[in-house]
Amino acid sequence: MTLPVALFAVVATATAVSALGVVLSQRIVRSAVWLLFTLVGVAVLYFLLGAEFLGAAQLVVYVGGTLVLVVFGIMLTAQGPFDTLTTRPAEWAVGGTLGVALFALLAHAVMGVEAKPAGDGPLPGTGPLGVAFLGDYLLPFEIVSVHLLVVLIGAAYLARAKRRAKP
């Protein structure tokens, strides 16, 4: 067993276990913490594959942004000190079915793709990525950017301070 395979086994196991933790834990914030480990695990997998920019983007977007906002939202809206989730049997059944179906679909898709042989040369860095964004893929990139801008403006509109007319 080579070093990359051993590292992959360790990281992938940890990621999968913490993903189970997300689903199985009862408290919302504990789920968020398990989700933190899952997302960091995925980022470490990207680093192992040599995709440094993607790994760092995963960290900055999900760990530094999304997860913090999740916990922030729970802290602002929770009624009691530690909110717990109760899952009914029907929800278990529906969720389990959907999960198994998605897993089967993904596994089928992954098995269908032929793995490329690993190259020895260094992977293209951030330079080619940026050139691709502003060159061949400019239109999709701009569409996503404008989409995000619309979301931002919409959020600012919804959250704006509502001024009452003074009597």
């Binding site: 914030v29 760990v63 802290m75």
Partner: protein, 410 residues
């Protein structure tokens, strides 16, 4: 660094050995720096407040942190009754891990880096943004309203300050054309006028904005709203005690050194002295040159950390709404303007004008600093006579000029 180990160990084990050595060295650096920085913080604060600070433990009180550490280890480590114990115990480690991982991509010299990353600047920012999660969890899991308020403030503050901080990092990245911190260091070889802080007026201002936002990102005063002791007892770490409490401080000082290192690599020439016109690691050999490099780099980190300490004890704390307004209304538009400005500068300004501006900025800053030091070192023209009071109190009676035994109180 794996090349060094490949002569000692066979293939997979040289990587393992290099990783272990790098982690050990970095941990020693973070721990040792925190040890000394806490002493420096207490000494500087004492001098600012006209006290002596620690003097009893070791020479100049240098071992004060050791005494504190022993005390903290000996204290009972307990969690409040209502707390979520698992998260309560986990939170300090999360904060420390995030601060520590930032050092993995910081080069201390030419090639002297734990892991050479192509997107190192982005990686350091990404990892440091994870520190806030530990603080929020600590605030939430403590089941205390003070801690909860501290956590909420921390979340709002740090997430807001991340945006201008990242934009300010992009400004020198536009000039350098790379995200690799090693490449940043190599490009700024030679005189100090080659440092990117002096490249044009926009990078100069970007350095100042970056330093302010980095201070806020480390939740240092005047932005330490998460632990504002006048309102929130001790904020997010109210319920922590003993060694677990000190991990938060390890994390805070660790991230201070990490952002200072990032600032010196992006703006202040990295490991270059600013005087030597060549790369020491190439002239003197890898090890000798890099010992010099690491010394210079660590000195620059220390200078920036000392400025942070100086700011903390000189400036009053802002209110939470002022903190948010400073960021969203002033720093964020400034950072956006600087980014646009540096792009236009790169495109439109001819090289000759750029060179002139660079030298004016560099030598102007040097002259300003020299004049500042000269004015500090020259004695005042009319020193106050011994025993008298200076300034507006001149001429008032003191126990020395009017001994109480003779005249008594007037």
């Amino acid at each position: 660094m794996p090349e060094v180990w490949s002569s000692i160990a066979p293939h997979p084990w040289n990587l393992v050995a290099a990783g272990a050595a790098a982690a050990g060295l970095l941990f020693a650096f973070v721990g040792g720096s925190t040890f000394l920085a806490i002493w420096a913080e207490r000494k500087v604060s004492a001098r600012v407040q006209d006290r002596l600070g620690p003097t009893r433990v070791g020479p100049f009180g240098l071992l004060q942190s050791l005494a504190d550490g022993i005390k903290l280890i000996a204290k009972e480590d307990f969690a409040p009754d209502g707390a979520d114990r698992f998260l309560f115990r986990l939170a300090p480690y999360l904060a420390f891990c995030a601060a520590f991982c930032g050092f993995l991509a910081l080069p201390f010299g030419s090639g002297l880096v734990a892991e050479e990353l192509d997107a190192a600047a982005f990686f350091v920012l990404a990892v440091l943004s994870g520190e806030v999660f530990g603080v929020i969890l600590a605030g939430y899991a403590s089941a205390s309203k003070w801690a909860l308020f501290g956590g909420i403030r921390e979340a709002a503050q740090v997430v807001s300050y991340e945006a201008p901080r990242a934009l300010c990092v992009v400004v020198p990245v536009c000039v350098a054309g790379t995200l690799s911190l090693t490449a940043f260091g190599r490009q700024q070889v030679g005189g100090f006028w080659n440092w990117y802080v002096f490249h044009d007026p926009f990078t100069f201002l970007a350095f100042l904005v970056f330093f302010v936002t980095a201070t806020a990102g480390c939740k240092r005063a005047p932005f330490d709203l998460a632990e504002a002791e006048s309102e929130l007892v001790a904020g997010f770490h109210t319920e922590y005690s003993g060694i677990r409490w000190s991990y938060f401080f390890l994390a805070e000082y660790g991230s201070m050194f990490a952002v200072s290192g990032l600032a010196s690599l992006l703006f202040l020439g990295g490991w270059h002295t600013g005087v030597l016109p060549f790369e020491p690691a190439e002239r003197y050999g890898y090890w000798v040159g890099n010992v010099l490099n690491a010394g210079v780099f660590i000195t620059k980190c220390w200078v920036l950390v000392l400025v942070m300490i100086w700011m903390r004890w000189s400036l009053p704390r802002l209110r939470i709404d002022q903190v948010m307004e400073t960021c969203l209304r002033y720093l964020l538009p400034t950072a956006c303007g600087l980014l646009v400005g540096v792009c236009l500068w790169q495109l439109a300004v001819p090289a000759a004008v750029g060179e002139v501006v660079r030298f004016v900025l560099a030598f102007g800053t040097l002259a300003a600093m020299l004049m500042l030091f000269a004015s500090l070192l020259t004695p005042d023209g009319d020193p106050t006579p011994r025993g008298d009071l200076p300034g507006v109190w001149a001429g008032r009676p003191t126990p020395l000029t009017h001994p109480l035994s003779r005249g008594g109180r007037r």
